[in-house]
């Protein structure tokens, strides 16, 4: 019985029962690339929504998941890296997902084969690609060399580099300057750089109060929660944080501790944390899936997250060309994953893809070790415009930082990690 016969049989069942239902194509193979907020969630939900009938393999080089959300607290010193790390073993065991700890080296979207760096191959009926971002080191002169030598770090993917940046802050003398350079939007985690400024300032305020935090932003204004961050900086970190807009970093020179800008004067700092432009993860670029914004991001059909250039390939998370007001966040990647998972299950069962998928987003930012602010939104798929839009009247901001939201943020983290990994 081939797939077409199978679908016919499914349709027959539908006729009999009067409502649309079908069996997922048994033994169909789904490969998920990337074990972050998007990929791990997709792997779990494809198993869950298919009633555990579809075969799912998750390809992820790391043995442990390390969360980007909350990783700024490791820089601030109130959390350890182990607090924000989780094993993949539970996901695999609870949901019967085959974990392959390897790197996806190439994808043949015609033959539907993924080649792994270790030499083996995986064939697929459907592929979910959640490759995250690639830091475009070439967008700032001198950055690639100074990152290779360990002098100027990004720590925009949580892990060993987070700890290395923390060590730089610990080694900085009191009275020193930490400077974070922010690229033009869009970038991964819109509130992330500003939360990081808070976390570093919190550490410095407690241990090295004569020090400064310079926020050097290529954008016109703070990209996320501007009023709230300004309020916090004024109230809690007035003598420490200085914000400068329209500072687009063009070059770094680690030996002089300098950042050079396109227009503004050079800035000198003890610890430079320069974030370059970002783009879809390498494998997406290499496969030709990044077809938007000068080949930076991957175009998708928002109803299913299927690539606009390759059939049976679903791209989710930070790598996609976003719809209006859709942030590149872990929460959003988790929600993309669920829409894509449902679409994969529907397609492999011969059912219609959900005509009206929904997404939520919540971004909590810690302004110190306990107080938190948020931005939230709900997004609906608008079929007439083939895009997601924020539901009118939904979403909003905190009124100010509170400990209650600190507890909610902590619950959010534990819940979403469980939602993707347990």
């Amino acid at each position: 019985m081939d797939r077409r016969d199978f679908l016919k049989a499914g349709a027959a069942l539908t006729l009999l029962s009067g409502t649309a239902s079908a069996f997922a194509m048994r033994g169909a193979k789904v490969v998920v690339i990337g074990g972050g907020y998007g990929g791990a969630t997709a792997a779990k939900y494809i198993r869950l929504l298919s009633g555990y009938t579809l075969d799912v393999t998750l390809v992820e080089p790391d043995k442990e998941f390390v969360s980007c959300p909350l990783s700024n607290l490791v820089l601030g010193g109130s959390r350890k890296l182990t607090d924000i790390s989780r094993s993949y073993a539970t996901l695999s065991r609870h949901h019967g997902i085959t974990m392959v700890h390897d790197l996806a080296a190439s994808i043949d979207t015609r033959a539907r084969i993924v080649k792994l760096a270790g030499g083996s191959t995986l064939s697929y009926d459907k592929l979910v690609l959640s490759p995250g971002i690639d830091l475009n080191m070439g967008s700032i002169e001198g950055l690639a060399e100074s990152q290779a030598s360990g002098q100027i770090l990004q720590a925009w993917k949580a892990g060993p580099e987070t700890l290395a940046l923390r060590r730089q802050l610990e080694a900085m003398p009191d009275g020193g300057v930490y400077a974070i350079a922010i690229p033009e939007a869009p970038f991964r985690c819109p509130p992330g750089p500003y939360e990081r400024a808070c976390q570093v300032a919190w550490y410095l305020k407690n241990f090295k109060p004569k020090s400064k935090v310079l926020v050097l932003d290529a954008n016109q204004d703070i990209v996320s929660k501007p009023a709230l961050f300004k309020k916090v900086w004024e109230e809690q970190y007035k003598s420490i944080i200085e914000y400068r807009n329209q500072h687009k970093a063009m070059a770094v020179s680690p030996k002089d501790g300098l950042i050079k800008f396109d227009v503004q004067d050079d800035v000198k700092a003890n610890v430079i944390n320069a974030l370059p432009q970002m783009r879809a993860g390498k494998i997406a670029l290499q496969t030709g899936l990044a077809n938007m914004a000068n080949n930076r991001w991957c175009g998708v059909n928002y109803q299913s997250f299927e690539s606009s250039v390759a059939n049976d390939v679903f791209v989710i998370g930070d790598a996609i060309q976003v719809a209006q007001l859709m942030p590149k966040s872990g929460h959003m990647a988790n929600n993309h994953a669920k829409v894509a998972a449902a679409a994969v299950v529907a397609q492999l069962s011969g059912l219609d893809i959900n005509p009206a998928p929904m997404l939520t987003n919540t971004c909590y930012s810690y302004v110190d070790d306990r107080h938190v602010i948020h931005v939230a939104s709900v997004h609906e798929y608008v079929a007439a415009e083939q895009t997601f839009k924020v539901v009118q009247g939904s979403g909003g901001f905190s009124t100010g930082p509170t400990e209650l939201e600190g507890r909610h943020a902590n619950t959010w983290a534990r819940s979403i990690w469980a939602d993707m990994l347990e």
């Binding site: 079908a22 869950l48 555990y52 299950v345 979403i416």
Partner: protein, 111 residues
Amino acid sequence: MNHHSLTATLLGSAMLALALSTASTALAIDQQTLYTQSLAATCANCHGTQGKGVPEGSVPKLAGLTADYLEAQMKAFKSGERQATIMHQLARGYSDEQLRALAAYFASQKP
């Protein structure tokens, strides 16, 4: 093809599908259920997969609460009658019909 033979053909196909679907217990995937599960999954980030929550969390576990209670609370958040840090902002993103479907879904989940 008369009505009886059509039915017989359909039944035959259905039985074939059932037989192939496994030696087993696999259930057919219902389209509407898939959409509802998908909608409810937008709550899981904070309330846990299928509303099961996490131990000692600061947000409620939804699984197994009554549909009437859940619907009333979500509508109270939506109208602003019940205050919150964030839930009023999220509840306003869903239609009353969606809130009703969510309430029924979480009520039917095992806590």
